[in-house]
């Protein structure tokens, strides 16, 4: 069981790491929604966690 748990934890870690890289790009340069483009730094920071957790959804929407 411990082996599976380790794979799960590595999977979670990898998911969040990719999400973080994607989210940083998304909130700084990648966001195409006109309502958010050029908005305050605080707003972008608030959107960061969502982009980290939902990066596959955002990536799919952009492709």
């Amino acid at each position: 069981m411990l082996n599976i748990a380790q794979y799960i934890s590595y999977g979670l870690g990898g998911y969040v790491l990719i999400g973080l890289v994607f989210a940083l790009y998304f909130v700084t340069r990648g966001v195409r929604n006109e309502a958010i483009a050029g908005k305050s730094l605080i707003l972008r920071i608030l959107l960061l966690p969502g982009a980290v957790l939902l990066w596959p959804v955002l990536l799919k929407a952009r492709s």
Binding site: M1, L2, Q6, S9, A35, L43, G50, V52, L54, L58
Partner: protein
């Protein structure tokens, strides 16, 4: 919605509400730790872990109670308006509980802490030995996703149906947390009384939800459906600037409003967060959702500019002094002039 996004939509009422919330949370945590310290074997770290956990589950009960309470009594609607901040705070407190527990119980070994928490002990095949921390982790992930997507940007980006479905997973989180606490208590903290408190909480929430469901059904006006049309009764039976609702044999509930221009009908579900538009009223000539105040033109179903949201309209006719509404909604964006009421 498509309006200009701001970081946090604070106003005087929300400042007041958030202030009370923070004071209550600090009060709860301080009381929990101070009372716990009276036990000779008390450990501050463990008390903090349990304090954050208890606080999170109490807050989750409050969050889940607000929806049905607001339906049962209008006095609770201001709480509904502020529920989003409560959800974010609950997720953060849950994160504090999870983070501290992970460090304290699993952070000092050779195995990575998350693997240790979900697979380092117990047996998934034996119910009473089920590793209860894995259920806590599932609940925490759901609460964090909900908190992270609570901003209107995400509502706009994901679209209301997806966003709403995502946020309905709070019930999955609640079920996981009940399992987490029940199993944790059974395995490591027998006789603490937590199980009794949890049962009271779960039964109360179930009762509130059932009562709200029955109230929602009882709000429907008496109607009869003949083929494609539903008889709503006399126009004057619809209160001025308010609505009556009917539920077709298939499809969503319909709200039939009466205002100075006449009678109009729309689908009774707000496109913002599925609020009950039929329980709203006409304000400044617009249908106003009772949950968050989102507005729609009764004749077009469109939100006022610059918003772009719409709800579907329904065709209405008055025959022999009775209002009839078509059971099937119009194609989104179809305008329907209000049918004048002649006395």
């Amino acid at each position: 919605m498509s309006h200009d996004f701001v970081p946090v939509q604070w106003n005087r009422q929300k400042f007041f509400y958030d202030g009370i919330l923070l004071v209550a949370i600090f009060g709860f945590l301080a009381s929990f730790i101070l009372l716990g310290l009276r036990t000779p074997s008390a450990d501050v770290s463990i008390l903090m872990i349990r304090g954050f956990g208890s606080c999170a589950i109490v807050l989750l009960h409050i969050i889940l109670a607000i929806g049905p309470l607001a339906r049962l009594s209008a006095r609770f609607k201001p709480l509904l308006y502020n529920r989003r901040h409560l959800g974010v705070v609950t997720a953060l407190i849950g994160l504090a509980h999870g983070g501290l527990a992970l460090m304290w119980y699993h952070g000092f070994g050779v195995i990575n802490p998350i693997a240790s928490a979900i697979g380092g002990y117990g047996d998934y095949g034996v119910p009473i030995e089920f590793p209860f921390e894995s259920l806590g982790l599932i609940a925490l992930i759901i609460l964090l996703i909900m908190a992270a997507t609570s901003h209107d940007f995400w509502l706009s980006r994901l679209r209301p149906p997806v966003w709403k479905a995502l946020h309905m997973s709070v019930y999955v989180a609640y079920a996981a947390l009940v399992g987490h606490v029940a199993l944790g208590t059974a395995q490591f903290d027998k006789g603490s009384g937590l199980l009794i408190a949890l049962t009271i909480g779960a039964v109360s929430l179930t009762g509130l939800h059932l009562a709200a469901l029955l109230k929602g059904r009882s709000l429907d006006t008496k109607s009869s459906q003949e083929s494609d049309w539903i008889n709503v009764g006399e126009p004057m039976s619809i209160p001025m600037n308010k609505a009556v609702t009917v539920t077709p044999k298939s499809g969503e509930r319909i709200a039939i409003f009466r205002q100075s221009k006449g009678v109009s009908a729309i689908v009774a579900i707000c496109s913002h967060q599925n609020g009950p538009l039929g329980e709203g009223c006409i304000r400044d000539g617009l249908i106003t959702c009772p949950w968050h105040g989102f507005q729609f033109d009764p004749e077009t179903g469109a939100a006022p500019a610059p918003f772009e949201d719409r709800v579907q309209t329904h065709e209405v006719k008055i025959e022999n002094g009775e209002v009839w509404v078509k059971a099937a909604p119009d194609v989104l964006g179809t305008p329907r002039k209000a049918v004048e009421v002649t006395s």
